[in-house]
């Protein structure tokens, strides 16, 4: 069955937008094809969450023009707080406008590309053509992937050349300070052979009563012997329904490590898939979430093993309060031929209220004999014996609970490589669980 959806933008709208952004012709055509496909493609079908009444397609305006910042000092306080002093390479997108970029001398001298996606489409055509929706996310997977391409209006492009090992993390902040903003963000991070990069992004609403929608696709490529550490903290407003798809492709002997703090206040579908294509590739996904209010969320984390000796780890910890409900799907898939692969996963959900709901669904799909795999899942309340132990040292019940919850969410907080982002995530957790 296909659902006919009248799309908010026509082919002509998309073409004009592409012209205004001075995009090359191939990309305009790409958008048009994707728009055509979007009309007939079905919606994604996240396991155990019905999204047919969710709004992913209706939004007030496609693009909001915002003023840029001439220095980091001009950033609003909330944003300034997450850009740690001394952070050398940082990109700020304000609503749909590339508002500030600072690239360190090291990056420039080593030939690293760190720029907004639309500049990359213009200036680095060959690289974009090679990686944009080719080997990671496919444009025609479903309606939302094709809409992302058709209506693309933001995102970042990172390319680290062969043999370049970057110590300093790259930081991107996507701030929404206009209630009408919608995002169709597309981010690509490429670590070429023998290179290494750490990229950290924030999605941050600084206005309330937002009326837009958010559609994010990130594609991450670790070529042979490369390493990508990808941190993200999403804090989008209650009014925003989000579809976020972060996908990685790890080649031979490469590593992709995700640290995701998914703290949106609105309904969210998050999909995080890592393809361990190469032999001895390594994928590690750590996700923490807090749900509150009447929020509905679905977090699907999947690691697919193709390579021999590939190792995949999934850790998901969620805290649900009020009447929030979440589905945690963890899937470890080992394809035929991926001998000696190891797929491990752990999903744990803490429920703080009677009416909160969290379901952990650990799934192992194994098509090869000579492998190891394991999973652990639990859903429950804060352990009364842990509270007793902490309280027996004089800590109040409220603080004891706080400690346990922060501890429970620490696996992601503790490994985020940017101090400001770490602090922000801690504060967001504090605010959400209070």
């Amino acid at each position: 069955m296909t659902v006919e959806t009248k799309l908010a933008l026509t082919e002509q709208d998309v073409r004009s937008y592409s012209v205004a952004k001075q995009e090359p012709n191939w990309f305009a055509e790409y958008r048009i094809r994707a728009l055509g496909a979007a009309e007939n493609l079905p919606m994604p079908t996240p396991d155990k969450t019905k999204i047919d009444k969710w709004n992913f397609t209706d939004f007030p305006v496609h693009s909001v023009e915002s003023a840029t910042f001439s220095s980091l000092a001009e950033l609003p306080e909330e944003v300034k707080a997450i850009v740690t002093e001394g952070q050398q390479s940082v990109y700020i997108q304000r609503n749909n406008t590339p508002a500030f970029i600072q690239v360190s001398d090291e990056l420039t001298s080593k030939g690293v590309i760190f720029t907004d996606i639309q500049t990359a489409i213009r200036d680095h055509e060959n690289l974009v053509k090679k990686y944009f929706m080719t080997n990671g996310v496919k444009v025609d997977e479903h309606k939302l992937t094709s809409l992302n391409a058709a209506l693309l209006n933001g995102g970042v492009f990172v390319y680290v050349p062969k043999n370049v090992v970057l110590e300093e993390p790259l930081q991107a902040v996507f701030m929404l300070d206009d209630a009408q903003t919608s995002l169709f963000n597309h981010t690509i991070v490429v670590a070429d052979t023998n290179s290494s990069v750490t990229y950290v992004e924030n999605y941050l609403s600084t206005v309330e009563n937002a009326t837009g929608i958010v559609n994010i696709i990130s594609e991450v490529f670790a070529e042979d012997n490369a390493s990508v550490t990808y941190g993200a903290v999403d804090v989008l407003d209650k009014g925003i329904t989000t579809y976020v798809n972060r996908r990685g492709v790890a080649n031979r002997n490469s590593r992709i490590e995700w640290a995701l703090g998914l703290m949106n206040d609105g309904d969210t579908i998050s999909e995080n898939v890592t393809h361990l294509v190469g032999d001895a590739s390594y994928g590690d996904t750590k996700t923490v979430v807090v749900g509150r209010g009447k929020q509905k969320q679905n977090f699907t984390t999947k690691v697919i093993h193709w390579g021999k000796h590939s190792e995949g780890y999934i850790l998901k910890h969620g805290v649900m309060k009020d009447e929030a409900s979440s589905i945690f799907n963890g899937i470890g898939k080992i394809e035929h031929g991926a001998t000696k692969a190891n797929a491990e996963q752990e999903s744990r959900v803490l429920m703080l209220n009677e009416k909160a709901r969290g379901d952990a669904n650990p799934i192992l799909l194994i098509d090869e004999d000579d492998v190891t795999a394991g999973h652990a899942a639990s859903v429950g309340r804060v352990d009364p014996l842990q509270l007793y132990y902490l309280m027996s040292r004089g800590i109040s019940k409220q603080n004891a609970e706080r400690l346990v919850i922060h501890g429970f969410l620490a696996p992601v907080v503790s490994i985020l490589p940017i101090e400001g982002v770490k602090k922000q995530l801690t504060e967001v957790i504090e605010r959400k669980v209070r």
Partner: protein, 259 residues
């Protein structure tokens, strides 16, 4: 001087009565030892004093300097000066030992008057060294992956950092080798003195080779059946418990079976 008074304490777990009228008075500057075979209610007494959620006090009272302890929440009991070194301390992932201890100390101080980080670290380093603990244990998650001996030392470390008026040590010696036993005993002896009272619960006399108690009590069938001085512990070491059972006409010392 502070006083902890336990009067006719009856405690049940899952509806089954374990303590059947315990009477005990402990002053600061005193060390008491409670001995007794397995299953006689010793650990239940410790848990009931601290307020373990599974233990139900059915009658009797516990007072600390006249204040009704049983009316207090667990954290209030700790704030009032009670401490329990637990037999099976919880493991709490993601919370470092240092953060936890600092929270415990700051819980006793007014907001705005938190202990300075430097002072805290100095104090912690000193006490960890005293207990021959690896410095990295401060940054490890609370009890997570700690060996049995490390957990016991960590309990004593907490006691030394918090400086309670009364500490109940529930089988702090179990599973310790002789070197660890000496270290733990040193920690307890370091606390000994004005302003500190201690109730040591143990099966074995050997801990009392390092800590000389002022009073020794024997528990059987959920009650204190005999009290004496340090010589009582020596007699138990030499002769076991049977002479007490004979003396009191007790056949089964445990609380497991009803008469």
């Amino acid at each position: 001087m502070s006083t902890l008074v336990i009067q006719d304490l009856h405690v049940a777990i899952d509806g089954k009565e374990i303590l059947k009228g315990v009477n005990l008075t402990i002053n600061t500057n005193e060390i008491h030892a409670i001995m007794g075979p397995n299953g006689t209610g010793k650990s239940t007494l410790a848990s009931a004093i601290m307020g373990h959620p599974k233990y139900e006090v059915t009658s009797g009272s516990v007072h600390l300097d006249g204040e009704d302890v049983l009316e207090m929440e667990v954290d209030e009991r700790a704030q009032a000066g009670l401490f329990l070194a637990m037999q099976y301390p919880s493991e709490i992932t993601g919370v470092t030992n240092a953060d936890f201890l600092r929270s415990a100390i700051n819980a006793r101080r007014e907001e705005g008057d938190e202990i300075s980080i430097m002072k805290f670290i100095r104090d912690l380093d000193k006490k960890m060294e005293f207990l021959e603990m690896d410095q990295d244990m401060a940054q490890r998650y609370l009890n997570e992956g700690f060996s049995g001996g490390e957990k016991k030392r960590n309990e004593i470390l907490q006691m030394m950092m918090i400086q309670p008026k009364f500490a109940v040590l529930d089988e702090i010696d179990s599973g310790l080798d002789i070197d660890a036993l000496k270290v733990v005993s040193n920690g307890i002896n370091e606390m000994r003195g004005e302003g500190f009272g201690c109730l040591i619960i143990t099966h074995y006399q050997r801990l009392l080779n390092y800590i000389t108690p002022d009073h020794v009590h024997v528990m059987m069938q959920g009650k204190v059946v005999k009290s004496g001085g340090p010589e009582l512990a020596h007699k138990l070491e030499a002769q076991g418990y049977d002479w007490i059972k004979d003396e009191l006409g007790i056949e089964d010392e445990t609380v497991g079976q009803e008469a």
